[in-house]
């Protein structure tokens, strides 16, 4: 099977931004940031380019700084025909029955082009603003129950779900609006997180584990463990692709923003109770270049998902095929500027990967 390439959907206003610096989290979470508002014009343009570039899905991120992901997928999905949406949602924000009803409705409106990225929540402060006061480990225990209920609805045709757990209780739940898709009866469920609990959740309730990219050698045993249990592995990364490796290196280094942004982003990363964020910061500070093409140097500026594959089209195509060899099946990618880097990727890297795959 061919590798599946997804892309991070830009935040409001980002499609028009030309420098990476403008898109740092520190900037998009400031009061008055354009990220708070939907950007239908920019988004529809981006979505159509993604379809053209050969991108399968876009990941819509969830936070209190952005519009709700379910409705972005609904609106942009009506303006596109092929692109799918990985809707990130945190748990503890609504009842599982309600969530299933919303996702099923969305699937009916955009012909099943929706999957889910379940995040247990990475900021305690943000969760409390949503009325969620559970600790990290308990959030995962609840997520397990929540997804268990959702999956019962999807595998029972919406019929008569009863469940009694520590966090969820449902009695004779019924949802008449079905999940509709050409080839599935329930959405793909991506579970992200590096912690033991996140991995457990991915294995029990997910269809795919999402984690930050690392070197193939480091990842190989973990990937095998997941594949053995029938769960796929999807890597989060950024790319900088230029005609030569030297040009790519220069472009990557030009992305470094001011020290003030670093100071603030470090505060977010080190204040979180998420293992993923801690791991990423450690890679940046203790390792830097993880191998010839994989650089963690941007993490202190752009956050944990900024571990970046840097190189020529051939370097990158080879790197992706290397991950394929160890069993990785999907990638969620970002780049700067958001639109240009995706077009380069679609033009230069995907065809090289497909060409190699056609000989497998």
């Amino acid at each position: 099977m061919n590798l599946r390439f997804h892309w991070m959907f830009p935040k409001g206003g980002e499609v028009g931004m030309k420098t990476a610096q403008e898109t740092s989290r520190v900037a998009t979470t400031k009061a008055g940031s354009a990220a708070a508002l939907p950007d239908m014009e920019g988004w529809v343009r981006f979505a159509r380019c993604a379809e053209e570039a050969g991108i399968e899905s876009v990941l819509l991120s969830f936070s209190r700084y952005e519009p709700d992901t379910i409705f972005i997928a609904c609106a942009v999905g009506q303006a596109t025909k092929k692109l799918k949406f990985i809707v990130a949602y945190r748990l503890g924000l609504m009842q599982p029955t309600t969530f299933v009803q919303q996702i099923n409705t969305l699937s009916g409106v955009i012909n099943g082009r929706v999957s889910l990225n379940i995040v247990a929540g990475s900021s305690m402060v943000e969760q409390r603003g949503y009325g969620d006061f559970l600790e990290h480990d308990e959030r995962y225990a609840r997520a397990e129950e929540f997804l268990g209920v959702c999956r019962s609805f999807w595998s029972n045709n919406g019929d008569d779900v009863s469940f009694t757990g520590n966090y969820c209780r449902i009695e004779n739940g019924k949802i008449y609006t079905p999940f509709v898709a050409p080839d599935r009866t329930m959405p793909e469920i991506y579970v992200s997180g590096h912690s033991e609990q996140a991995q457990h959740l991915a294995l029990t309730q997910g269809s795919c584990w999402v984690r930050l990219i690392d070197t193939p050698e480091n990842l190989a045993p973990m990937v095998t463990r997941f594949r053995d249990k029938g769960v796929g592995v999807c890597l989060r990364l950024c790319v900088v692709c230029r005609p030569t490796r030297d040009e790519a290196l220069a472009a990557a280094e030009a992305l470094l923003p001011s020290e003030e942004i670093e100071r603030q982003e470090r505060r977010i990363l080190s204040g979180s109770d998420s293992k993923t964020l801690k791991d990423a910061l450690a890679a940046a500070d203790q390792v830097g270049w993880m191998n010839r093409n994989l650089w963690a140097g941007l993490v202190p500026y752009y956050g944990s998902s900024a571990i970046t594959l840097v190189g020529s089209p051939e370097d990158l195509a080879e790197a992706f095929l290397e991950y394929k060899k160890i069993g990785v099946t999907q990638f969620i990618i970002a780049g700067w500027p958001k639109l240009d880097e995706m077009m380069i990727f679609g033009r230069e890297v995907i065809p090289r990967v497909r060409e190699a795959e056609s000989h497998e």
Binding site: Q95, N104, G129, G131, T177
Partner: protein
């Protein structure tokens, strides 16, 4: 101020795009929409868009999108339909107890931004205890209202009502606790106001909830003489009154009566109201057994079978215009109407009745 006219959004598949539909066929479709195998739970963007354009042409301001487990999620429907039509507004019916208020506000604000502010909502405490259990809600009728009060208080705090301004939201109640709640996406509307809140119900707690947290009290049509004091009370508290009713308009009253009576079930024992065991409004409706004429134009013959929202205003265009103007005199400000079939009725209303009202 002019009377404001809204309409019920038809069920999925209810709008007959090919060929005509008799009033009886339309009524049967609605009654059977809760039966297994009905297409009603599936989103029907094509039929809804057709209806929505007719409603816009007829001078209808908003459509009410109802909430139940038998239907698609009304948030998603409003978002999708809002992309297809550009003028019509939406009243999203939602029950409290299904999601955190912070999440609800984030969804409402997102949909407002995606529809240029064309959303308001109708909060329903929940009318069937079996249905609520399926959503994970096990509170009793009165406790549901107590919770709805807290729910709306949190929502209103996010929207800067109740003097909260732009401060973070902090709330500690019996049912909800929110700490430093903050949402970057604002409620977007042309006039800069927060959403209108329709509170429906006939019980004492629902009336109090409308006064404390709502902008409009939504109830089923009654004889104006009986309603006058209730309406005066609500208006004195600064809250509007909106009436739900069904409409049958024919060239003469006799023809209208004949059509309405053709909707009576062949089996006099047929009833869908037993499903709503926990609603004051439905309990009152169930007690109507004789004397189905509340006045010359207002008929409750269908109510014992199908519930109070089948209360029917019928007559010639002039009869109906007079009836609406009589409600205006006692202080009613808005109406939510439905008919059989919806498309034909909204067109007749726009062509025959509304001009007579606007002339006054």
């Amino acid at each position: 101020m002019s009377l404001r006219f809204h309409w019920m959004l038809p069920k999925g598949g209810e709008v007959a795009l090919n060929g005509r539909q008799t009033p009886r066929e339309a009524a049967r479709y609605r009654i059977e929409s809760m039966h297994a195998g009905s297409p009603a739970p599936r989103p029907d963007i094509e039929g809804w868009t057709h209806f929505a354009r007719q409603a816009e042409g007829a001078g209808i301001e908003k459509v009410l999108i109802s909430f139940s487990r038998y239907e698609p999620d009304p948030f998603v429907v409003a978002c999708a339909l809002g992309q297809a039509v550009k003028k019509l507004k939406f009243i999203i019916a939602y029950r409290s107890g299904l999601m955190q208020p912070t999440t609800f506000v984030q969804q409402m604000n997102t949909v407002s931004a995606l529809t240029q502010g064309r959303v308001s909502f109708n909060i329903v405490a929940g009318s069937s205890s079996a249905e609520q259990h399926g959503y994970g809600d096990f509170l009793s009728h009165d406790a549901r209202y107590e919770r709805a009060e807290e729910f709306l208080a949190v929502c209103n705090a996010f929207w800067g009502r109740n003097g909260n301004g732009n401060a973070d939201v902090d709330f500690a109640g019996k049912y909800y606790r929110v700490e430093q709640g903050k949402l970057a996406t604002p409620f977007v509307s042309p006039d800069g106001k927060s959403p209108e809140i329709y509170v429906s119900g006939h019980s004492e707690p629902s009336e109090q909830l409308a006064y404390s947290q709502g902008t409009c009290w939504l109830r089923v049509a009654e004889d104006p003489a009986k309603l006058a004091s209730v309406v005066a009370r609500a208006r004195a508290r600064g809250v509007g009154v909106c009436l739900r009713l069904c409409l049958v308009c024919r060239p003469t009253r006799e023809e209208a009566v004949e059509v309405a009576q053709s909707l009576l079930p062949g089996d006099s024992a047929e009833s869908t109201v037993t499903l709503k065991d926990d609603s004051q409004m439905y309990r009152e409706g169930g007690q109507i057994t004789t004397g189905h004429w509340l006045n010359r134009s207002l008929w409750t013959g269908l109510v014992p079978h199908y519930g109070p929202v089948w209360t029917t205003l019928l007559g010639s265009p002039q009869d109906l215009a007079d009836a609406f103007l009589e409600y205006e005199r006692i202080g009613v400000t808005e109406f939510i109407i439905s008919g059989w079939p919806e498309v034909d009725t909204v067109n007749v209303f726009g062509r025959e009745v509304l001009p007579l009202i606007r002339r006054q």
